[in-house]
Structure formats: C-alpha cells, structure tokens
C-alpha cells in the first residue's frame, strides 16, 4: 500500500505544474483559432519534447511504459489548468487502441508519429442511438475485394478536425456468423464517402459528426476484426484518465472558490467568515478528496483482471461524475452571479466538470453497471 509518488513522478508533476502555469488562462482562450487538419499546437510539441506523448504507452511499442499513476499525474495537471490540448481524445484513446491492436506496419505508419507529436489521431465510436454503449455499433463494415466498405454515421468524434486519421468502430457484417464482431478501421481525412461536420461541445472542445457512405478502404486500414476486449481496455484507461482530469479541475475550482470567499466582502466582512459558506466549502473539499480517492482507485486498477477493473472503473466514473457536478454547482453558487460569466475562470471549470459526466458514460450509466455487477456478499 503506497500512495506516494516516486522521484520520477514527483518530477513529472512539477514539470507539468510549471508548464500548465505558463499557459493562457481558460477565460482568455475562448476564441482560439481552430487548427487545420494535421497541425499540432506549440504546446503539443513541448509535450513531445518532454516525452509526455510517449509516457503512457508500453515500451514494446516505443512508449515509456508509464503506469496508471503517471497517467493520473498528467491528467490531473491538465485538468487543473483546463489545458485544451486533446491528450485524451487525440493521443491516449487512439494510441492505446493502436498499441493493443496494430501490426508492425500500422504502428510504424500511425503510432510512431503519434508518439513523436507529428500528428494527432481521433477515435470515432459514438453513434446517435447507442447512448453510452460502445458495443452498440450500427456502422457496418463489409468485405470489399481485398479491403472493406464502411457505411454508417458517427457522432461527437473529438478532435476529428485535427486528426491525421480517424479510428472508426464498425460491426463486421456479411460473411461472419458472429454478429458481435467489432472491427476498427483507420480512415484518413479526405477519403471519398467520408463527410465531416464540425462544431464545438458545450465545454468548448472541437468535435465532429461523420457520415460514411460506401467508404472503401484497403486491407491495411483494418486494425482488428474482433476488438471488443481491446476497446473495453482502452476505455478503462480513458475513463481513469478522465477521472484524474476531473479531479484536477475540481481541485482548481475549490482553490478559486476558497480564494474568492477570502477576498470578497459582503455585509462588511469577508464571505469566508460566514459559517454556511465555510461548511459548504468544506463539503466541496470532502467531495474533492473522495473523488480523488476514486480516481486513485481507477488509476491503480488498470492492470487488474477485466471484471474487477471494469467494476472499479465504473464505480469511479459514477462517483466522480456526481462529485464533479456538486463542486461545479457550488463553485458557481458561492461565486454568486460572478461565477456565471465567461469572464470568470470558475465558469469554464464548471462547464468542464458538468459536461465531464457526458463523456465515456455518465453517472447513471456506470451506476447501472455497478448495480448489475454488485456482489451480494
């Protein structure tokens, strides 16, 4: 039992803290220009130089073999600064899937440049009728000569606009008797039959909807014809990362709110002297610390057997989702009307923390999982 950081982890945390502190504050980057496809931001290149893009991947695929704790440290720092770079969507999710499924050629073509910061990728799984179920895929992949033909549509593909290729989940139809087979296909932008419409999410992240009409791909575009287990494992990593990111954002929200209460005066005294506001602030702190514990539980469960891993991951996401909402709502409430404006830093954190619940399955979705797998003993 050990909750302390190694020397390397302490260095990682400090490096990230400095890096994040140097970034422009979120309320000042609202109208950042969108990057063109294939372009990465200067900060992304710094990430690459620091090895942060290699960090979470296994040494066998050219990574640094960081563990769940390293990932937690990284995501917590990014969440604390509300750093917009798509570490999760553009690197971690597609990279983790590639690391699990790609052959040597595919790795050389897509994973190595990803880790070098030469391009970003995206992962398209969400379908409009699937709610949060990553296995409920209607997009179909049919054999087509030596290659494949894909038809369907995908929603909410994060970072698709900047991606050198999009990994797309599709149900392999036709010749296989097993209806459950899930394939994953790499589609570069500009592939005929692929239509993309871009927008931003409520919390300001670039996302796209895709339509795939007779998108034909060669054999090398297929990462796997049976990716369900790998997808589960990748999503477990993604959810653990997302929880850590939320904890970072919760911590920052608590810090901002505490500072505000100490500074702002009402009825002649600082707000921080009002007992109800003190106790509310303590409640926020309690939620933060309990959520932090669940994020630690998630981060340290990634190497467990799948049933145990997924139970803990679901529990952590459900718990952090509720805690994040509590912290977000109270941060706004304690800031008063100020907290509702775009000029106020805390409002950006609040949007991130509330919408966090909508990524990779919300509290109710994961509560349902926990409920269905609850041990009766």
């Amino acid at each position: 039992m050990d909750f302390s950081y190694s020397d390397e982890q302490r260095m990682l945390a400090e490096t990230l803290e400095r890096l994040v502190a140097d970034q422009p504050a979120p309320e000042r980057r609202a109208s950042q220009p969108d990057l063109a496809a294939g372009q990465c931001s200067p900060l992304w290149h710094t990430f690459a130089e620091l090895g942060l893009l290699h960090m979470p991947f296994d040494e066998s695929v050219g990574g640094l073999g960081g563990d769940g704790t390293d990932l937690m440290i990284t995501m917590q720092a990014l969440g604390h600064g509300l750093v917009p770079e798509p570490y999760l969507a553009g690197l971690l999710l597609p990279g983790d899937l590639l690391a699990r499924l790609a052959d040597a050629d595919q790795r050389a073509r897509w994973l190595t440049p990803l880790l070098e910061g030469e391009h970003q990728l995206a992962l398209a799984w969400q379908e409009s009728s699937a709610r949060y179920d990553i296995h409920a895929i209607a997009t179909s992949a049919q054999r087509h000569g030596n290659g494949w033909r894909l038809d369907g549509s995908k929603q909410l593909v994060m970072g698709a606009d900047a991606a050198a290729a999009i990994l797309v989940t599709a149900r392999i139809a036709g010749e296989h008797p097993d209806a459950d087979r899930l394939g994953i296909f790499l589609i570069p932008p500009g592939t005929p039959g692929l239509t993309r419409s871009d927008y931003r999410t409520m919390d300001g992240q670039p996302a796209s909807d895709l339509i795939l009409e007779s998108v034909t791909l060669d054999g090398q575009a297929c990462l796997s014809e049976n990716a369900a287990a790998a997808l589960d494992a990748t999503f477990a990593v993604g959810i653990a990362a997302l929880c850590a990111q939320a904890v970072g954002a919760m911590q920052s929200s608590c810090e901002q709110t505490l500072a505000f209460l100490k500074e702002r005066r009402q009825f002649g005294t600082p707000l921080s002297t009002f007992q109800t506001l003190q106790h509310r602030m303590v409640d926020m702190h309690l939620h933060l610390e309990q959520a932090r514990s669940m994020a630690i539980l998630a981060a340290t469960s990634l190497d467990r057997p799948a049933p145990e891993r997924d139970y803990r991951i679901a529990a952590a996401k459900a718990y952090c989702g509720e805690a994040a909402r509590f912290v977000a709502e109270q941060a706004i409430q304690l800031h008063g009307a100020m907290g509702m404006t775009e000029e106020c830093l805390v409002s950006h954190y609040a949007k991130h923390l509330v919408m966090f619940d909508h990524y990779l399955g919300d509290s109710d979705y994961h509560l349902e999982y926990v409920s269905e797998h609850l041990s009766a003993a």
């Binding site: 969400q126 949060y132 927008y199 702002r264 009402q266 909402r325 706004i332 008063g336 009307a337 949007k351």
Partner: protein, 398 residues
Amino acid sequence: MNLTFTAEEQAFRQEVRHFLETSLPAAIRERVRLGRRLTTDDHIHWQNLLGEHGWLGANWPAAHGGPGWSPVQRHIFDEECAAAHAPTVVPFGVNMVAPVLMKFGSETQQRHYLPRILDNRDWWCQGYSEPGAGSDLASLRTRAERDGDYYVVNGQKTWTTLGQHANMMFCLVRTDPNAKKQAGISFLLIDMATPGVSVRPLITLDGAHEVNEVFLEDVRVPVANRVGAEGEGWTCAKFLLTHERTGIAGLGHAKQALHHLKALASRLQHRGKPLLEQPIFRQRVVKAELELMALEVTNLRVIAAARDGGVPGAESSLLKVRGSELRQELSDLTRRALGPAALPFFPDFLYGDAELADVEMAEAAAASPQYFNRRKLSIYGGSNEIQKSIVAKTILGM
C-alpha cells in the same frame, strides 16, 4: 378545505388557453419551445398582443388598466402561458417599476409612464446590483449629487437583464453619503439615452447575452425623475421585494419542464427500451414529480392566502428556495436524459437565426445551455442562502 378550482376559474383557464391557441404566433411559440432567444421584436409583438387583449398588466388593478385578476387567476394565466410556450413578459416595466410608480410615484409620473408601459413604448431595465456587492443591496455605492434641478449620477450597475434593449432604467442611488447604509438611498428613473450612460454586455457561461454592466458617468437626471421622497429608495425596493411574489416558485415553468422531461425520456431509448423505464433514471423523475406535487400545493396555499387578503412575506422565500431547486433539478435531468446528445453547442442556432437541419439536434440544443443558465435561479433576486436567512429571521425569529 379543497384543492379544486371554481367553475369560474376553470372557465377562465379555458379562456386563457383559447387565447393562447389562437393568438400566440407559431414562430414565437416554437422558438420558446426550443429554448431559442427571442428578438426584441418578438417580445414586443407578443406583449402588444397581450396589451390589445387587456392582459399585459396582469397584476395591475383595473383602475390603472389592468384586468383586475385575483391571485388565483394570475396563477392560472402563468401556468397556461408556460404550458403553451408563450414568452415570459419582460417584467421590469409591467411587474416591477409599474407597482412602484402606482404606490410611490407622483400623478405626473403615473400619467406619463404607466400608459407607455402598457403599450410597450418603453423597455425598462433594473439598476439595483453593483459589482462586488452580491446580495447586499444596502451597500450600494452609485452616488447621485444634487445640482439644481438635476442629480448627477456616477457609478456602475451590473446584472442588468436585457439592458441592451432598454430605453429606461429604474435605479437605486445613494443621495446622502453620510446616512446609515439603508437610509440615504433614492429611487431614480434614468433615460438610457442620457449622455454618460453606457452598456457593456456580460456573456454568461451558456454563451448568452442576457445581462449587462451599465456605467454611469456624470449622468444628469432631472429631480422630477425621482420616485418618492429623497432617501426613500429603500422603501420602494423593499416594497418590490414583497410585492406579488406568489409566482416566484416558477410553478408553471416547472410543470412544463417535467412534462417535457417525461416526453423526452419516453422517446429516448436506452438498451432497447424507453429511458423512462430505466430504474435509476425513473427514480429521479419520480422524486421530481413528488417535489412538484408538494410545491404546487404549497404555492396554492400562499396564493389562497393572498387572495384572502394576506400578504405573503417570507413564505415567498420558501417558494423561491424550493422552486429554484426543483427547476434546477429538472434542467439537470433533461441534460442527463439526452446523454451524449447534450454535448454539442450551437450558439448561432440558439441565439441567432441559423437553423439546424437535424431535428433531434435542434430539440436537444438548449438542454445544456439551459442547465447552466438555470444556475441563476438560486442566485438572483437574493441568493437561496439569503432567502434562508430571511426565513430564519422573519418566520423563525432567530
């Protein structure tokens, strides 16, 4: 004791419903239904229709051109308007400055301003809050110095809702800097076209331009524009805070929101069944249903007391606390119900004229912004914490 409406009241409800069905323009109804921002023209168009029907000054006495409705009728009217997706009447003229003028204004002021409110010639905004003052109205710093027949006003107001459309502002200013906090405050009417008045938008976290800062630099306001005596501004403000707050729970809006939520959760599918049948989600809806049932009876109790001559004081604080909590909860459930579909944000659709081809996207677009927007319900008009302190003091004597 009974909870049923009289035959007359039920007939009145039918009358209101019929009016809304026949008079509310479909385009406006649809924008309200989808949570899209109305233009000033939309607002004025609808308020003119109400005014022509004699229904704009819903809480005005007949002597001033109001319909002379009972509190119960006003409640029914509000419920039906919310159910029909009618725009909310912009309250600053009709419901806020008008009662103050009727109570404290001179005959000249009444004769000038009241008709202009009823025929929508003036768009009023409110200049109460100041930066850094939060719910502590009495600490306001905007000062008005007498200069002959004028006050020279300097200071800053904030959270001025829809101030960007207003041509008139009613305003609390400090006329006596030496008086104790709540004394020395006066109630002024300021023409927004006066030199020295400038308006700066405050964009809220839902991306909306709803509130503003108003800067006042050497603004010359005729003394004749003061309502009541000098130093009596606090009396006017307090009067407003206790006036006609039987609708403060927003019951009609809560009912409409629950109705919408149930329809949505019946339509959306989760693992092959309607979301409303998913036990965890259903349970959340059931809790909201119970809370609404209780709040409705509590609200009717306050309305009946008002009808029978009582003045709802701190009871309205209870309605505000529970009403805002319920409406926030419903906005939270609506956002949750949509799942991933609550993520996309389309400001040009919500706040402009851009259209969305995808019907489902259009239906879903307002959910998350409204969830964030509804955070204001527990903050404005005295935060819920302030409301509880009011109840502790005035009802419980603590």
